[in-house]
Amino acid sequence: MGQVVHQGSNTNNVAVKKKKGSNLSEFAKNFRRNLLGMIGLFGVIILLVIGVLAPLISEFPEGYGDMSMMLQPPTSQYWFGTDSVGLSIFDQVVWGTRVSLYVGFITALIALVIGVPIGLLSGYYGGRISTVGMGVTDIFLTLPILPLMIILAAVIGTGVSNIAVIIGLFSWPSIARVTRAETLAIKEKQYIEAAKCIGTPEYKIIFRHVLLNASPPILVNIAIIMGIAVISEAGLSFLGLGDPTTWSWGTILQNAQATGVIINAWWHSLFPSVGIIILVLSFNFLGMGINEALNPKLREK
């Protein structure tokens, strides 16, 4: 490991790297060494499990709960306490995991679908395509997004899917930027020219050679975007633009806010907040871990 120190130099050849497995196993090895990355992965897995198994873990909190147990602090029966209609916060948080993850994934998906092509095409073809593509990206990146999301949410109406779509519509610029930056770097690689030389069709060059190699930083970015999406959803909910029919963490927090119990019933806001923290941290750590594990030296600057 670490043999090749300055790869730019003209004289770099004898340095044969140690025998290694495929890129993937090498990556896994590096990743495993990254403490934050592993924490992140662990967190993401736990959250996914909770999200997927929500129906098994708890019942969907509906209607109203136990009338004698309104706003109760955590007990052995209600692990996370109850809210002002006597529903279990634990159940809400569990189901909230699912909804928040859903928001995260939809957002990420939309961001990918919009951001990657824009970044890829601007980077690969450059010229006017890039001027327009990156112009739009930069504009979206500059504009204050939350107010815009608020307006849209207010107009389009609430609903988890709407919210996710709206957040997604504003999350792609960073993906586009990363994709473009990577594409620009990869485009200069000689293997792109080599591919042209051996008659590789353009679409294949774009997808197989460029996109494939650009994907790790895109993935990292996606991880970050998912975290941001969850926070954004909570923010919109807080402003009263969330979807009150589902239990996203944002909705739980909004309930606590609207009923004025954030301080009083600390459990009401603590647990969903912790959920958000865990989710955002996990995805970010995961992203960082991936990033570090893709040793930049291996990525051959």
Partner: protein, 333 residues
């Protein structure tokens, strides 16, 4: 056992530099010794990754964080640098020993003017007034043959060509009149015609300043032209050390021989070039005996098991090879 002559500027004694990486620890260079006398140019040649830069950085005390000199001594004008504390070591850099690097395009800070970067150095190591320091910066640029030096001082690196930047680097190296200049492949990144200019410049400077130069390169031609003495390195070790003419006339170590034979020469038309088969061994997996054993056409039984010491050969060449066992062994200095 070498005599300490008044003349010796730098003496590197059996140094060993280790790196830690991925929880493994291994030495990158081992048992490296040589010396440089006043006004002498000593070249280090060897292929990529053989430890030339690490040697230079070990001397300068600029090793990366994960590397460290663990054995030996480095005497600069009689002081063992390895015993100095960080701050005194630092104060020597730029003043008593300077270094220029391979890539002039990236060795200058893009956000400061060329003048400032020289000025900064002068202010650090001398008590020149601001004015005097600025003037000296211009003079240094003039000295290294930069046209319009009074304008160039106020220019930024990106406004200069590669050759100009390397001249600036040299000017910077010379600014405090150090006794020792370490040049790590100063011309590798340059075009031949520019390389010729720079080499010419360095010769001139050495002559004028009576400087000692440690010249690192992988180009035998450059060595032949610039150096008085040559140290050949292979896989982290010095394998041969000789006067430049001796080396080219009668290389001793099989590696040196191989190297020379595989270099194409103008006018010498062979159908096939000689080659050294195989590749350099991994640092982590050095052969037990001689490190060149696996590639050596003259390999012997002994070579694979026992590490050869350096032998003094008849032609006053030091050579790390069992072939010269019969000749006098070098008692390590």
């Amino acid at each position: 056992m070498r005599d300490y002559s008044q003349n010796t500027v730098l003496e590197v004694n059996n140094i060993k530099t280790k790196v830690r990486s991925d929880r493994e620890e291994f030495s990158i260079i081992e048992d490296v010794s040589f010396h440089i006398d006043k006004g002498e140019t000593v070249g280090i040649v060897g292929e990529s990754g053989c430890g030339k830069s690490i040697t230079a950085l070990s001397i300068m005390g600029l090793l990366p964080k994960n590397a460290e000199v663990v054995e030996g001594e480095i005497n600069l004008n009689g002081t063992n640098l390895l015993n100095l504390n960080k701050d005194s070591y630092r104060k020597l850099r730029g003043k008593d020993m300077a270094m220029i690097f391979q890539d002039p395009m990236t060795s200058l800070n893009p956000v400061y003017t060329v003048g400032f970067q020289i000025y900064e150095l002068l202010k650090l190591h001398s008590n020149l007034s601001n004015r005097a320091a600025k003037e000296k910066a211009i003079n240094m640029l003039k000295l290294v043959g930069i046209p319009r030096p009074d304008e160039v001082v106020n220019e930024y690196p990106h406004q200069l060509s590669g050759g100009m930047r390397q001249r600036v680097m040299i000017a910077m190296g010379l600014a405090c009149d150090p006794g020792l200049l370490i040049a790590d492949e100063p011309t590798t990144a340059l075009d031949v015609t520019i390389q010729a200019q720079i080499l010419e410049l360095m010769k001139k400077i050495q002559f004028e300043f009576e400087m000692s130069i440690l010249f690192i390169t992988h180009d035998l031609g450059v060595v032949a032209e610039t150096c008085d003495r040559v140290v050949v390195m292979y896989a982290g070790q010095v394998v041969e050390e000789a006067e430049v003419e001796t080396l080219f006339a009668e290389p001793k170590h099989p590696y040196t021989k191989g190297l020379m034979a595989s270099t194409p020469k103008i006018g010498e038309h062979k159908d096939r070039l000689n080659t050294i088969e195989g590749t350099v061994p991994q640092l982590q997996e050095m052969p037990k005996g001689c490190r060149f054993a696996d590639r050596c056409p003259q390999v012997m039984e002994k070579c694979r098991t026992q590490v050869p010491p350096k032998f003094n050969t008849a032609s006053n060449t030091k050579c790390r090879c069992w072939l010269y066992e019969d000749e006098k062994e070098v008692v390590t200095i």
